[in-house]
């Protein structure tokens, strides 16, 4: 049994008395690809920064490779890759020099990989950072996060400025990392369809808390839209257990249900005296329904 790469317990953070994250716990195992979802301001960036040890936790803590992430030894730091939301590139440098500066920190730097990807991703190594488009800067920033082949790769909105072709190339690279089986990726993204393809675990942050976390497949199976159709008008008192949201309209009703299991259908249909249809939702629909 492998021990988890990342383990957080009761993690909380306040900035000048304002709570931005409260009581968050999770683990990331080798091979996991975690998609972090949440509205703007839900605490995604703070969460990632706590994992990286950029800022101390106000309560609880995070362990990274078994060390307190805020007091991480150098050797453990070398096993992390990070792509920030806002790149930290140096405007005066050319792409090649920027790569050289970062590479000098890592004995395990993979020149071959970075060279190949910069060609495939069409990153002009001779161009100065200040003359690059936002998309080019983002690609370069991702290259810098990948070059030392980190065991844990953390990306904060890595694809916001990429075109669909570049996004697919990026996805393929993440798949390569995940296919290794011993490396993990944690990424936040508003591009729900990318999360849908890549993530095996989902964290949904809402109101500074971990609102839902777990296996992605079980998320899609456990949150569904139920359609009920009865022959007689449904009573006022009509209720569906675990429903987030019930809309009743004469003989029909729809509801978003949490904690759904397929074997509940027959029982519930009998109980309600209605015909039930289960509609499975896309991740985007689930996300929207949870934020109504």
């Amino acid at each position: 049994m492998n021990s988890p790469y990342i383990a957080a317990r009761g993690l909380g953070k306040s900035f000048s008395g304002k709570q931005v994250l409260a009581d968050v716990s999770f683990v990331v195992e080798p091979g996991d690809v975690v998609g972090v979802l949440g509205k703007n301001g839900a605490g995604k960036t703070t969460l990632l920064e706590l994992v990286l040890g950029f800022t101390p936790a106000t309560s609880g803590g995070v362990q990274l490779f078994g060390y307190d992430s805020y007091r991480l030894p150098g050797a453990a730091k070398a096993r992390i890759g990070f792509v920030p939301q806002q790149d930290e590139l140096v405007n005066q440098l050319t792409a090649a020099d920027q790569i050289g500066v970062i590479a000098s920190f890592y004995p395990k730097w993979d020149d071959e990989l970075v060279g190949r990807l910069s060609r495939e991703w069409e990153v002009d190594l001779n161009q100065r950072v200040k003359n690059m488009s936002v998309g080019q800067r983002q690609k370069l920033s991702i290259l810098l996060g990948l070059g030392h082949k980190p065991d844990v790769l953390i990306l904060d909105e890595p694809v916001a400025s990429l075109d669909p072709v570049a996004r697919r190339q990026f996805l393929e690279q993440i798949i390569e990392v995940a296919a290794d089986g011993n490396r993990s990726v944690v990424f936040s993204s508003h591009i729900v369809s990318d999360v849908e393809r890549l993530a095996n675990k989902i964290w949904i942050l809402k109101d500074q808390r971990m609102y839902w976390q777990g296996d992605f497949d079980s998320l899609k199976d456990s949150i569904v839209r139920l359609h009920a159709r009865a022959t007689r008008p449904l009573p006022e008192s009509f209720a569906i257990p675990n429903a987030l949201n019930v809309q009743r309209n004469g003989t029909t009703a729809t509801a978003i249900v949490r904690g759904w299991r397929a074997e509940m259908q027959d029982n519930l249909a009998q109980q309600l005296g209605a015909e039930l249809e289960v509609e499975q939702l896309t991740l985007e629909e689930i996300f929207l329904e949870l934020h109504r």
Binding site: V33, R168, I175, E176, A179, L198, N200, K220, E279
Partner: protein
């Protein structure tokens, strides 16, 4: 287009996966492999793409593919071969001897025999009924079907 070749040397399109659907990707893949194996589209011995290959082609998480292959192996649909690609397995039923398969049928036969006695039917009546039923459940030529009495 993504194709792979089955044991008869015919080329097939790879699976059609829609990540942006309510059905989890693993279930889409699971059902497609299961169906294609059952229908003979993927005859026993057909090599499946590697986990990495399939994950890259569809831009999906390799763990999803790995999970499906493991589940299908447990079901006996696929076979793992050391250092070689996974292959479609020979259906288990065909491998087990007649006696073993008859054993599985026994409780059903017992039920029929018991019911037939309670209905005071003769052995011949039952054999005849079974024969008709047998013809009816034959999957292949439709014209040979007889109507149930």
């Amino acid at each position: 287009m993504h194709y792979f070749t089955n044991a008869h040397g015919r080329r097939f399109r790879l699976f059609i996966l829609k990540p942006h659907s309510g059905v989890p990707i693993y279930r889409q893949l699971l059902e497609q492999v299961r169906r294609m194996a059952a229908s003979g589209h993927l005859p026993p011995g057909t090599e499946l793409p590697s986990i990495r290959e399939l994950a890259l082609k569809h831009a999906i998480n390799p763990m999803t593919v790995s999970k499906v292959y493991t589940l299908l192996e447990a079901e006996g649909v696929l076979e793992r071969n050391r250092g070689k690609p996974m292959t479609v397995a020979t259906p288990k039923r065909a491998q087990s001897p007649v006696a073993k398969r008859l054993e599985q049928l026994e409780p059903h036969v017992e039920q029929v025999a018991l019911a037939a006695r309670q209905l005071e039917l003769t052995e011949q009546d039952v054999v005849k009924a079974l024969h008709d039923s047998w013809e009816n459940t034959d999957e292949q030529p439709v014209h040979r079907r007889t109507r149930p009495r």
